[in-house]
Amino acid sequence: MSTRLNRALAEGERHSPDPTEVLAGIRAGVRRSRRRRRFAVAGSAGAAVLVLAGGGLLVQRLPIPPVGSTPATDGVDGVDGVAAAAAAGPVQPQPCRLGFGWLPTNLATPMWTCGPGDQRVLYPMDGGPYLRVDVDHSGWQPPLSRKGWEPVVVNGRTGRMAVKNTRALVLFPLSSGRWVGLEYGVGQPGGPRTEKLGETAKRIAEGIGETVASTVRVPFAPSYLPRGQRFVSALGGTKSGLTYREGSGRVLDRKPVQGLTEDGIPTDRPTVDYGVGYSIRWGPTGSEPTGKELGERADRDVQGLPTYLVNRGMTVIVDGFHGGQLSVSLNGPERIRPTAPTAPPTGELLQIAEGIRWTG
C-alpha cells in the first residue's frame, strides 16, 4: 500500500522548477543581499562609492550563469565586469498570449507588451473608451474580499469588480490560475456617469484567454546591458520597446500595498521583486533631430546625436535616432535598495544607449 503513496509523491517531481531559472534567481538574490549589506555598511557617500566599486568584483566570483543569458554570453562569467553583456542581443518576435473574444467599438490603436515576464495591452483614451488588461506573472493570488469591491463570477471562476462613474475594474483568474487585472473607462475620472460600465467590463473579461493573438517585433537590439539583467518583455504599437530587469518578478511580500484610483476605487497590489531594471523605448518623430531642448544636455552625445538627461538623470533621450527618439530609463531600484544611490547611473544609461543597434 505504501507503494501507492511512494508513487503519488514521486508524481510531484514533475513540478520541479527549471534549474536555470533557479540559478538565475539565486544569483540575483545574492547580488541583492550583497548590495543591501553594502548600503547598510556604507556610512558616507564616499564609502558607498568604494564599496560599490569593490562589489562588482565580488559578484563575479559566483560562477552562476547570468539571468536570461544566451549561450554566447555564458562564457563571460568570472571575467572582469567590463565584458558583461548578460541579456544583450536581438530579441525574437514575442508572442502576445492575451486574446479577446469581444471588444467594444471605438478603441484606439493598442500598445502590446508581450514577453516571458509580462503580458498586457493598453488601448489609450484617444477620443474613445480606455482599456487596460494585464496578466499577473508574479504568482499573486489577491484576496477575494476587499472593501469597495463586489464579488463577480467570470467564466465560472470567482473574482471581484469595482465600478465608479467613469471606471470599472475587474480582477479575475484565468483557467491557468493567473490573475487578470482589467480596467475599462469612458471619459476622464470625475466626469459624468457612464451607463453599463460594469456590464461592458465583465463582457470583455469573459472573452479573455491566453491564446496567442499576435506577436511583437522590435526594430532595435541592445549590444550592451549591465550584468544580471534578463529580458522581460517587448513593447509594440505606436512605440517600440524592450524591458529588462534583475529581479525574479515574483511576489516579495503578499501584504498588499494599498492605493486609490482617481475615481476613488481602492486598489491593492503585492510587493514584487523587480530589482534594478532598464526600459529602452523608441518612437518615430518623423524627422531628424527635433532640435528641441528635451532636457539637460548630457556631457557627451550618443552615436553622434544630441542626447539629453531627464527625470533626475534616470532617463537618457537620444534625439533623431533613426527618425525618432530613443530613450533608456532606469526602473525601480528604490524597491530593493534601502537607500537611493548617491548619483544617478547616467554613465550606465549612456553606455546602453551607445550600444543600441538598429535592426530594422
Partner: protein, 162 residues
Amino acid sequence: MESFDEVIGARLPALLRYAAVLAGDRDLAQDVVQDALIRAHARWGRISRMDRPDLYLRRMVLTEYLSWHRRKARRAALFEARRAPVEHGPDHTVRHAERDDLWARLAALPERQRAVLVLRYYEDLSDPEIAEVLQCAVGSVRVYRARAFAALRLELELEESR
C-alpha cells in the same frame, strides 16, 4: 571543503525535486529553493565545514517550506487550482487517475503532515531521523503521520507501515 558552487552544481536537481514533492507546486518550489540557497550562500563558511552540507541544505529547504508567511496564499492557490477545470484531457488509465487523486489530496494536507510523509516515503527516513529534521519528538512524528493518513483515508496503510 567543497565550494558553494560545487555543491549546488551537484545537488541542485535533487534539491529541486525534493522541494517540488514537498511543495506540490512549481512556483512555490522555486521560491523555497531560491530563498534557502541565498541564505545558505551567506553562511557557506559555516555550512561547508559540516560533515554533510547537502543534508543541511535539505533541512534549510524544508524549513523554508514550513515558514509561516508563505502558507495561506499558496494553500489557497493550490486549493483553487485543484478545483479549476482541467485544461488537458483526463489520464487514460485508472491507476494514473488514482495516483493523481492521491496527489491532489496530498497537496491539501497541512505542511507538517505532508512533510512527514515526504520524509518517510520519498526520502526514506526513519521516525527518529524525521524527528531530528523537524526538531520535534518522535511521538509527534507519529501523530502527524496518523493524522495525515486519516485525512487521506489511508488507515489501512497506516497499519501496514507500522
